[in-house]
């Protein structure tokens, strides 16, 4: 057995390179399916949030260490980064409705 094989080093390559290699191998990516919502709830949700106050994309650059903290907290509290950020904004006086605070992944 060669020395290399006895060491057992993981692949030290970027996520992008790894993703590309995995994609080229034709390996599927399992994505958590969204829970089906009843038609009544769907209508209410649309009426309450999407039409009146729809979610929009808003991209900012933040320090990597802060992003790491957000993700760790989200994992610890089983919630989303979006929820934590909106909670923080609400705490410093921004007008964020309770409906907007709702974790969208659970709807």
């Amino acid at each position: 057995m060669s020395e290399f094989r006895s060491i057992g080093e993981p692949l030290d390559v970027s996520n992008d390179d790894l993703d590309k290699a995995i994609e080229e191998m034709g390996v599927p990516s399992v994505v958590t399916p969204k829970k089906k919502m009843s038609q009544k709830k769907k209508t209410e949700a649309i009426a309450n949030s999407v039409i009146d106050d729809p979610d929009v994309a808003f991209q900012v650059k933040i320090p990597k260490s802060v992003r790491k903290q957000i993700r760790n907290r989200a994992v610890d509290e089983d919630t989303s980064a979006r929820h934590l950020i909106l909670l923080g904004l609400q705490s410093i006086g921004f007008d964020v409705s309770e409906d907007a605070l709702r974790d969208r992944r659970r709807s």
Binding site: L11, M25, P28, R71
Partner: protein, 228 residues
């Protein structure tokens, strides 16, 4: 700082004893004082549920359930330097999470029970790991772990052993045999090393110790690494 050794249990077949293997070796590492972190990326959440069931908790083992969608980010962002071992359990199907776990591991354990289906999936998993590593000019360190082996050598069991030899697959010499303590772990959450001592538990502990001795030979003992 000496980083942890990352070990994943990977095969595209469900019910091949991935979680049992991870849970058992986590207990063995913890028993000898190593700090162990278990990442449960299997949506079935078997290992993390076992950890939750422990009352009182086993010291030295922490666990976290990570959704497949968040797995890559979790590996990137988490500080693993405080652990001696990071053990990854993934779902029993061929997907990106399985590939990522294998890519980031020092050692890939490929558990299989003595059945032709398990062997086929194990073979496919090993091939996938080799292909992935080959893309970057490297070779994965993997070992098959035979589990749920019956004390009586049935025909299919003999066939599987012969096939593993014929296919020249690397495997650990120590199998995990069909024993009650592994089933007990699924109920109480305690790995064999932390169960009440009985003859059956002693035998399970002995074979898991033999298995991690083989793992030590491949990737080193955590105490030796600290001294080094």
């Amino acid at each position: 700082m000496i980083g942890p050794k990352i070990i994943s249990a990977a095969t595209s077949k469900g019910g091949a004893s991935k979680s049992t293997t991870i849970g058992s070796i986590a207990g063995a590492f913890a028993k000898r004082g190593a700090s162990v972190h278990v990442i449960d990326a299997d949506p079935k959440l078997a290992v993390s549920e076992w950890m939750v069931a422990q009352d009182p908790k086993v010291e030295n083992i922490t666990s976290v359930a990570v959704k497949p969608d968040d797995f890559s980010d979790y590996l990137d962002d988490q500080d693993f330097s405080v652990y001696d071992y990071v053990l990854i359990d993934v779902a029993g199907y061929n997907d990106k999470t399985l590939m990522l776990a294998m890519a980031r591991s020092n050692l890939i354990l490929v558990p299989l029970q003595p059945a032709a289906t398990d062997l086929r999936h194990a073979l496919e998993t090993v091939k996938a790991a080799k292909t992935l590593y080959k893309n970057f000019g490297k070779s994965p360190l993997y070992r098959l772990v035979l589990s749920n082996i019956d004390h009586l050598a049935m025909q299919e069991q003999i066939f599987i052993f012969k096939e593993i030899m014929r296919l020249k697959l690397d495997r650990f010499n120590t199998p995990l045999t069909h024993r009650k303590p592994y089933k007990t772990m699924q109920l109480t959450g305690y790995p064999p090393h932390f169960q009440e001592q009985t003859l059956s538990v002693s035998k399970a502990v002995a074979e898991v110790d033999m298995l991690i001795a083989e793992i030590d030979k491949l990737i080193g003992n955590h105490d030796q690494r600290k001294v080094a």
